[in-house]
């Protein structure tokens, strides 16, 4: 299988005036295309930091990161932004919506940054129908339930048909029914489009449904 992620982190340091915290020491991760990986671990172990690195948000670490066969360390910031737009989809908690925009505009937000005119109304329609968001498209996030918002965040994460989905606690504040719905949608994307899925979760039941579970431990 094609290796899609090849990450080798020597360390990631967080500094404040009085403290210096080193995480992800000598951490390496290789992920094949279409793989489903769960990352678990206690708070402060570096789960979100790892997603920040994989998602090309954080470049301030010691190590090397090859994504889709290209070394990302030397890439220009605008190129990384372009990759975040086209190749990576972020599925986040239900609060990750811009409250001043409608659900429709939130979902269409990635199109704003797409280089070419990638917006195809029929693609948008099919995603919205599949996720069941049609009735709430014109609503603002504050008028929606937690489950509706979570699905909207999910729709935004997959609207550009990314090769990798990074899910950061996507079900954290959802009830059982909505939680199941989001996980099913994630796995459906993985199955239908061979999308790589990396999920950070505290929920071991969900973690165990992935191909691999990576346990991160807090630095001593």
């Amino acid at each position: 299988m094609t290796r899609i992620i090849d990450l080798r982190v020597k360390e990631k340091i967080y500094k404040s005036k009085k403290t210096r915290l080193s995480i992800l020491n000598d951490f390496s991760l290789q992920v094949a295309a279409g793989e489903k990986i769960a990352i678990v671990g206690e708070s402060g172990a570096g789960k979100s930091s790892l997603l920040n690195i994989i998602g090309l948000i954080d470049r301030n670490y010691h190590g090397e990161y090859a994504l889709l066969g290209s070394l990302t360390n030397d890439l220009h910031a605008s190129k990384l932004a372009q990759w975040r737009n086209q190749k990576i989809g972020f599925v986040l908690q239900e609060s990750a919506l811009i409250n001043s925009l409608t659900i429709e505009d939130n979902i269409k937000l990635p199109f704003l940054y797409a280089e070419k005119k990638t917006f195809q109304p029929e693609d948008f329609e099919s995603v919205i129908s599949a996720i069941g968001l049609k009735p709430i498209l014109k609503k603002k996030p504050l008028e929606c339930s937690g489950g509706e918002k979570a699905r909207a965040v999910f729709a935004r994460g997959i609207i550009m048909k990314p090769q990798i989905i990074l899910a950061d606690e996507p079900t954290a504040s959802l009830d059982m029914e909505n939680r199941e719905r989001i996980v099913s949608l994630l796995f459906k994307m993985n199955k239908e489009f061979n999308t790589t899925v990396i999920t950070v979760t505290h929920d071991l039941e969900i973690a165990n449904r992935h191909d691999r579970v990576i346990q991160l431990e807090r630095s001593k």
């Binding site: 910031a77 990384l80 932004a81 086209q86 986040l92 811009i98 990635p110 950061d168």
Partner: protein, 405 residues
């Protein structure tokens, strides 16, 4: 552009209070800078312009503030005696203005008459846009050659005549336009250098001895108040002061323009320095408040910025958006200051205030534009400080998935 439009309409304007806060702070900064800059520029212009009188041996008459003023004691014969003494013993530069007459003109302005003798004319070196220099040896009872301001030049071109009833001679006179002064020609006050009189709607009448001999006392007395004695000494002016005192009962001081500058330095320059210091301090305070306002904005919009960064916004684009937004706020404020200034200038036209009416794009003159340039420069500096502070703050937080949890 669509990304910038999106940020302005969907993100920045949604936190209107922060935008309004920044606009108000910028407006204060711009207005303070503009006012201070224009005062300084106007003073500098005054220094440059009055240099014509700042010469060795030139002393300017000035009524002592403590002088008694008994109008009953002042007579035409007394004034004439002073002028006889002046004519016999000195060369002098005579100038007085503010004599209002009504003559037809398209702007309906009340026209200000200024009177000057050859001594003043030679010192001041008026710049003309049309016509030729004045001739002071004219026939008193025929046409009197005059210079006019630009505002009258279309109605009264060079060579045309103006007939009017004139109060100084108390009879109808005919003026012949000899030349047109350059647009926005002005005269600065010898003592308050940032105070000016513009000549756009003035007529400058040359006066000679014969004219003065026939003139009413209000011209001759007023003329004495600012008369400049040329090529003389302090001692000689003291004798003149005695003559004035004996004939008119007035105490006069005779000061060189350097003395006037010193007076200005003592009383006005200090105020000008204070304006500069206060402006500088206020600008620092306003910049600090703007940075604080920007930090609050970053805090309140951090989630929105993060979501946009996750879906494809780059740091460099975000920087451009911030600079663009600050540029728009700055432009709006500059426009506001511009409108206020243009309205003030235009107000002189509306009030038919001939001595302050100026020509220029929207009535604005050189020093206004220069002051605008300084305001724009201070806005750029402030913009760089505020935007870079915002970017520093965003990097310090920093943007990450953690922000959204």
């Amino acid at each position: 552009m669509k990304i910038f439009k999106f940020f302005v309409t969907q993100i920045f304007l949604r936190k209107a209070i922060l935008g309004i806060g920044m606009i108000l702070l910028l407006c204060m900064a711009n207005y303070i800078t503009f006012t201070a800059a224009r005062s300084i520029l106007s003073t500098f212009q005054g220094y440059q312009e009055t240099n014509y009188i700042n010469q060795e041996g030139v002393y300017i008459a000035n009524l002592d503030p403590d002088s008694p003023m008994d109008m009953g004691f002042i007579s035409e014969s007394g004034t004439q005696a002073v002028y006889d003494y002046l004519n016999s013993n000195f060369d002098y530069a005579f100038y007085t203005d503010g004599f209002i007459v009504s003559i037809p003109n398209p702007d309906g302005m009340e026209i200000s008459l200024g009177y000057m003798n050859e001594g003043y004319y030679n010192l001041k070196q008026f710049e003309l846009s049309q016509g030729t220099d004045l001739d002071f040896n004219y026939q008193f009872d025929r046409e009197i050659p005059v210079l006019i301001g630009k505002g009258l030049s279309k109605t009264y071109p060079v060579g045309s005549t103006i007939k009017m009833e004139e109060s100084v001679l108390g009879r109808p006179i005919t003026l012949k336009v000899q030349g047109v002064l350059k647009q926005n020609a002005y005269r600065s006050n010898y003592y308050a250098l940032n105070s000016k009189t513009y000549y756009n709607f003035s007529i400058l009448v040359p006066v000679n001895e014969e004219f003065l001999n026939h003139a009413a006392i209000d011209l001759t007395l007023n003329g004495l108040m600012d008369v400049a004695i040329l090529g003389t000494t302090k001692e000689e002016t003291a004798d003149l002061g005695k003559v004035i005192n004996d004939n008119l009962g007035l105490e006069f001081n005779f000061l060189s323009q350097q003395d006037n500058y010193d007076y200005f330095k003592e009383y006005y320059l200090h105020a000008l320095k204070m304006i500069c210091i206060i402006t500088f301090v206020l600008l620092i305070v306003i910049t600090c408040l703007s940075i604080w306002n920007a930090f609050v904005s970053v805090r309140s919009m951090l989630k929105d910025f993060t979501i946009n960064l996750l879906v494809g916004l780059s740091d460099s684009k975000l920087k451009q958006i911030f600079y663009g937004y600050f540029g728009i706020l700055s432009f709006l404020n500059l426009t506001a200051v511009f409108i206020i200034t243009a309205f003030n200038r235009y107000g002189c036209w509306l009030r038919k205030d001939a001595t302050f009416a100026t020509y220029g794009l929207f009535g604005l003159i050189g020093m206004d534009w220069l002051a605008f340039l300084l305001v724009a420069a201070s806005d750029i500096l402030m913009g760089v400080i505020v935007v870079e502070s915002m970017l520093w703050k965003i990097k310090k937080i920093p943007i990450s998935l953690g922000v959204l949890q």
